[in-house]
Symmetry: C3
Subunit: 667 residues, 3 copies
């Protein structure tokens, strides 16, 4: 039971809540998990009130037993620190732990995530419970990894407007501006509207003003809040690392969620895990999609959203990716909750593996008949009988065995992609603070580019702006409003073909317009300037050669030597290039973007699909294996080369189907 032993294997796991079930059921549950082929069980992440039943009074008996019961069946345990659910007695003793919303209202006890990241009392209590927990289980042989808290920021909790948060914010500002209020005045541009401050203690939250506050006031609050999440998490990580040597520490992130800087925070983690709910996302995080997409992908999930997240978190996790919670049936928390297509739980699992996941852990072992999530399905029904998810998980397990027996684990080693897409969290915040177009969603723009590349059959790494880009053939910068210093330096020596989307390089770190004018720091490679920008409401379009422009355009004046490949109907350039560098002046319809990217990819020496893949079909290579997933709605022909045997699936892949074949070693 060496934690690192199974590192590269394709592992299946499950989330389990022994505290919600009678102890008598535990052994049968553990046996059934093992029988299903699961190796890993995450437990305890909401059980604070069961571990510390009163201040400083701990009850470990049940958890000791639960771990032992699981271990007895050979199951590995991931222990979650329970800080997402501070107990009632803690809140009663320290009501200042509670977060406050932007209207200054306390969010009371009664659900979860009812704490402010800045609360000193919460830090103190967290230190106590995490220390006690890891002192007891840190070296337990069955406990192979630790998860901090649960879904930081979920339910809009990254930002808190409590007195504790205000006090921390002022300290953070004092530090950022070296205690000099005039440095802040300068950075924020308080000359505008006469907003000078004379002391840090005067600064409030950037909310509730008669109209929008200074952009940098808002941005610094976002940065502060992001740092507070990291500070809170690091507190736990340091304790865990001390007492659980050799065990990876991870956090389970969410999908399409950017309220804090995951790249920065994950510097303190060993693995990035995330929670994959393909159907739920459609209704919630992916609000930027048109309603037609919500209808089209209602039962399969969008063909690129989960994949996007896998590719993002693989980078966030320094190459190590887990799916900590995998949707295994209908969820309860979207506005409407569809039934996954038959086979879709299997397909999502293989999709995760194809994108490099080491572990896919289903949520949850058994549907709980009570509580907020009683309508959230699990692998098993509330009455204990297997649900569809369990059947499909079992199928996956046998398919894993088939593939690994065909070719060893080494063939599953994830390799880097040739295409990098840069995601910068502060750029997302800047776009939210100064959107200019009400439907300009940061993730929406990133997804447009990601989807187009994926329709071309390209594998993509989503990387942070600090990451080394030197080995990529094609680098996409879809919505990099601000180009951080370190990235600017990398770009100078880059040999890749680079595609910059609209708004790139438009903002300084202080959220001002770059000078020289945008693309600002990119002008050495993109010798052009943005004269003006225009956002277009839904229904407004410009014809562009071969398609149409929508949502946004930069009005770009190219300098000599810049080629213009496509123009707007009124003559403004839409797609320009200068050597290896391309600039898209605006957003365009999907088919046109695919065409444009295809040409850039070919320039980068990449092989792209001769024509875009069918709407629902996606390809992903892992090691020497090539996978294909069809999200539907129609059957799709899999582009498997002549003479290759399909280990999974058929050449005409039905909706919800998965195909896999071994790549030629020469490939």
């Amino acid at each position: 039971m060496n934690p690192s032993k199974s590192r590269h294997a394709l592992q299946l796991g499950v989330c389990y809540y022994p505290e919600q079930w009678p102890r008598e059921r535990w052994p049968a549950d553990a046996k059934a998990m093992r029988a299903l082929g699961l190796s890993t069980v995450r437990i305890a992440e909401f059980a604070w009130s069961r571990m510390e039943t009163a201040p400083g009074h701990f009850d470990w008996s049940w958890l000791d037993e639960a771990i032992d019961v699981l271990a007895a069946e050979g199951l590995q345990v991931v222990l979650g620190t329970p800080t997402a659910a501070p107990p009632q007695w803690l809140i009663e003793a320290h009501p200042d732990i509670l977060p406050m919303d932007a209207q200054g209202r306390v969010k009371p006890f009664g659900a979860r995530r009812h704490y402010c990241f800045s609360s000193p009392a919460m830090h103190e209590a967290s230190r106590r419970i995490v220390t006690a927990m890891v002192q007891r289980y840190g070296r337990h042989p069955a406990v192979i990894a630790w998860q901090t808290d649960n879904e930081y920021g979920c339910h809009d909790t990254t930002l808190s407007y409590s007195p504790a948060a205000l006090s921390s914010f002022r300290k953070w500002l004092t530090a950022r501006y070296q205690g000099d209020i005039n440095t802040l005045n300068e950075a924020w541009g308080t000359a505008f509207w006469g907003l000078q401050y004379s002391g840090f203690e005067q600064i409030g939250f950037p909310v509730g003003q008669p109209t929008s506050p200074l952009p940098n006031h808002a941005l610094d609050f976002r940065r502060f809040a992001s740092d507070e999440v990291r500070r809170f998490n690091r507190l736990q990580v340091e304790i865990l690392r001390e007492h659980a040597p050799g065990r990876p520490v991870l956090h389970n992130f969410m999908g399409l969620f950017g309220d804090f800087d995951h790249h920065a925070m994950a510097q303190d983690l060993s693995i990035a895990a995330w929670d994959n709910y393909p159907l739920g996302f459609l209704d919630t995080a992916a609000r930027f999609l048109p309603e037609s997409a919500r209808l089209q992908w209602a039962r399969s999930g969008h063909p690129d959203i989960s994949a996007f997240q896998h590719d993002l978190y693989r980078g966030v996790g320094h190459g190590r990716l887990w799916v900590m919670e995998q949707q295994a049936g209908p969820v309860n928390w979207a506005d409407w909750n569809a039934l996954p297509l038959p086979g879709m739980v299997r397909a999502w699992t293989w999709e995760a593996f194809a994108h490099g996941a080491e572990l896919v852990s289903y949520f949850r072992w058994r549907q709980l008949p009570f509580g907020q999530e009683q309508m959230h399905s699990g692998l098993n029904r509330p009455d204990g009988m297997p649900d569809v998810g369990a059947e499909e998980a079992a199928q996956v397990k046998s398919e894993i065995d088939l593939l690994l027996s065909e070719e060893g684990e080494e063939a599953m080693h994830t390799q880097a992609a040739r295409v990098a897409l840069v995601l910068d969290y502060p750029s997302l915040w800047m776009a939210q603070i100064q959107p200019q177009g009400a439907d300009m969603a940061g993730f929406g723009v990133l997804l447009r580019y990601y989807s187009a590349a994926r329709r071309l059959g390209l594998d993509v790494d989503i990387v942070g702006p600090q990451q080394d880009l030197s080995d990529y053939a094609l680098v996409l910068l879809p919505s990099l409003l601000h180009v951080p210093e370190a990235l600017q330096q990398q770009l100078a020596s880059l040999t890749a073909v680079v595609v910059a989307g609209p708004r790139c390089g438009g903002k300084t770190a202080e959220l001002s317009i770059t000078q020289p004018l945008p693309p600002g720091p990119l002008r050495p490679w993109l010798p052009m300037q943005v004269r003006a920008v225009e956002s277009m409401r839904p229904g407004r379009h410009y014809a562009v050669d071969g398609g149409q422009g929508e949502q946004w355009r930069d009005l770009v004046e190219p300098q000599a030597g810049v080629a213009v490949h496509a123009r707007y109907e009124d003559g403004w350039p839409a797609w320009l290039s200068h050597g290896r560098w391309h600039s898209h002046a605006g957003l365009v319809n999907e088919a046109l973007l695919i065409d444009w990217l295809a040409e850039s990819a070919r320039q980068a020496g990449l092989t792209v699909a001769p024509q875009a893949l069918p709407e629902g079909l996606r390809l992903r290579r892992r090691g020497r294996w090539q996978f294909a997933i069809n999200h539907g709605p129609a059957p799709a022909a899999v582009p498997v080369p002549e003479g290759h045997k399909l280990l999974l699936g058929e050449r005409l892949l039905p909706a919800g189907g998965v195909a896999a074949w071994l790549l030629n070693p020469k490939d």
Copy 2:
């Protein structure tokens, strides 16, 4: 002037506010009321500040005179207790009377219903004014009935978040769980997210948490609030019964409103009255209707909504139904306020009588040129001239005389219907707390079934779950999430054909999933289990044999012996039956539902229309009379049997038309 004398007659009445008009007008008004054929006048329900002009200082002179003036014309008076409008001096002395909203903001004085049902000061003041009022008028020969307060719960006032409400809520919980917090922990399922409480004084409102609170926390708050309304009402009823012997006590309920349990509360009442605003409902309470329905029925009202309410409140009122306020022209309070079709006020009046109303009382005598409702029409215009409503009321009066002269009052005795539709208020709350599909409206589902039965020409009783069902031929359970114990027992001995809609039997009284799986307690009669549920966003449909499924489906696995009559395109059963019991696994389009119900009705031995009635035409029998109302938009042929004479209306009934004929005595 014996209050019970005219009990079964078809009476007309009006709402009148003498305090808003000069005394000199009263005699002329009374004379005109009598001339119009009205028998009954409701007064005083907002006149607290005129009766108790300062704390403990009463001025009865005007009310004495008003009652005498009305009585002098032979008019009967319904007196309303004025607690819906606590005076300013009372609020000033006891600001804790004011209710608070979910954000913790006080709702100030300045309109109406500005009190919290839990306020001890309000209870005390209500006791004082009601006692004083009934001591003075309880035995007055002209005062034939008492109305408590006015439209409990109107303007979202059932729930209050004041300190008084919190204190009452905790006491209520302590009583419900016998003072044992662990009983509460068990019932609420606080094992979920570690939400254990250690004392009742720790419990807050189920609102404002970062995400949804425990379902049972929410449900108990709804139950508590419902009980508080009943407690407040009972306080008044007890005083009224003591001092006004023999006079019925009633309350005027609202339409499509379920914020408290009307069946429970009305156990303390003699009559259920309600306020019927067919055009207003379209814009407000009936938000679940598609916009096309709002356009289609803008001037006639929906052909089933008022009827639904009549049939509901006849049951709530133990068979005694009054329409206390009847729309008599355009209202002012909807987003858009249409003009009723010519004849529609008459049609609504006859519709009420056809459904068993003893009294239809128009709102209001004369449009008031000032105040919030100045654009609310009355029987008379602000200048005192008769409005359309008065003309149509006069017509109704002469038609009543015609019918009663054709056949005596006995022929108008309302009989029970053969079809019962069960409405359970807690089931409505459960659906609101755990909707799963954002457009799943409790009343919307009930109305689908009611409409389908009505399109078949069936009369329907809407009954509570406690009601005796033994005489019905067909029982509909459209959305009975929870099947109360008493109803379960009844079902065992039932001989009716029963149709259970989706979600039936899905929840325990504690708002958990039933086990065995749904339909849980209905499985003795519906041997099947719901494996999963799926909600469909607008625009998502499944083909079903002969139609389409929408909004919701249960995935049902039938056991042996269950017949499947229709299936979804993917094979799941849509309509199943087992002997006399039918189960609809999901909601389907109207035409298909009509087909399904027709078959069940025929199985129950009922005669149904050979084809569905025209969209706007509805039939209703009262005693030996058969009525037909055409809501339009087109003229409709009335299915009057050969040789029967139409006393009202024509065989081709225009929009807004009413027809009536005597049924064959053998019928």
Copy 3:
């Protein structure tokens, strides 16, 4: 540099913020302004914190220098008092200055307009800064005019719910009702719902009640708030007039904004200036437009909205009209921010001049790269290079010179129009308080009538109800809910043709229904009565002879002698007349309204276009010049009479084009 010298000239100006730029740039900026042909520069209106750097400590050095630098280039200065931006130190010392929203939340420092108009501390501080400022610059030869504050009411700040506002409101009510609470009770109609007050100190804000408060409670609060704006402004005006003799005092009003009574307030001003953002309005203030209009006019602005405002503010300003801020490129503050059509900045400038503007001052000199408005374009780009606006301004300047050289300034003297449209601010508030139809927007109704007249080629004066109407041929009263006393008296002696729209004369000054019934005081000229009203939701229509009725109709019973020219499908009159007086019983589609108005205009002896002008083309005469502006989208033939020379533009005018010709002196 005589301030009055250039009064009737066509002047160009700009808004400039020296405090936001290094002093070294000022001279070059001034020189460039002069080179561009600008004559006037507005400065200082947000610079309080730079003038009064600490309580009572003034720093004038920078402003002295800025004014001198501008004056040295012959530029005239408009000085703005800086009260829209109270400094942080002032708020810190007097937090009670901050306004509060309707939920009782303080709106904190951090943007602008963070003060309550009723705050005594704000009055005091304003008196100090304005006095100090005008004592220093009031007689400066380069300072030719003073602007008070900036855009009163912007960001929803007219109404404040602070304790200071409540105290002022009670004083205001005490004065209005002569200290007699029963007078208030009578006026407000507190007999409704028993809402009697016994003292002024009991009265709260008309907000937060369980349902809507008394209409007159709401109306008095609107009146009070309007008076408070005027009181605050007059405080400044009195100081300015004392110390800056001979200099006009103005305020820069906003577009489609009626939160306070501009006619009343402007009695204290010399000139009405306003801020013209044609593209921004589409998304914000003109929400009443259908989405199709927002798409159609996205790049040109609606062809009537700016013109409407010009015609309104010319009246508000007693004939003197300035455009203080003129959109010169994309703005940043709408939901979507379109690029003006090429030539559109020029067209808007000429449109303003055609409607009588003396000055058009662009906002702003140079786009600021930081702060909330960093994406708001100016005449120059953030890097200092000229933007499109500068190019078009230069073109306008040369065209001014051309026209003035063709014919002297006298030919540009604005004359009164023959058509008056009456706008009454309290009527707008009444419509908001008692809308009856959720989409009945006061400005929307006014604009319907204005547009129809303009499509007929008519010039229109928009006048207040106090204004002398005796010289007009045609008077339009589109939505005059309340007809003030003074106007009633004028109407008696009027010789014009009058067209009254729906709802006219429907309300008393106390917001009650008029008696005799509406049109109430207009019945001497419109002998008819409104029996009922009906509002129609979007999608509901009535056929009317030649078109369709929408949104609203009055059901009108005409008396003898009234002609009915058009009827609704159900027979109710739609268009009636009685001699010179016309009544429109409801709103109708644009083409039909144009037809109806054409007939009334001909009756008034006016020449109207034989057929309606193209959708985007508008004509406006100034003095002996006739202008034509084409807002597009298609080129349009300009109706220039035979033999007239076009000084600007062509006979087939492209979108964004401007044409001008001299009228025949006989014309």
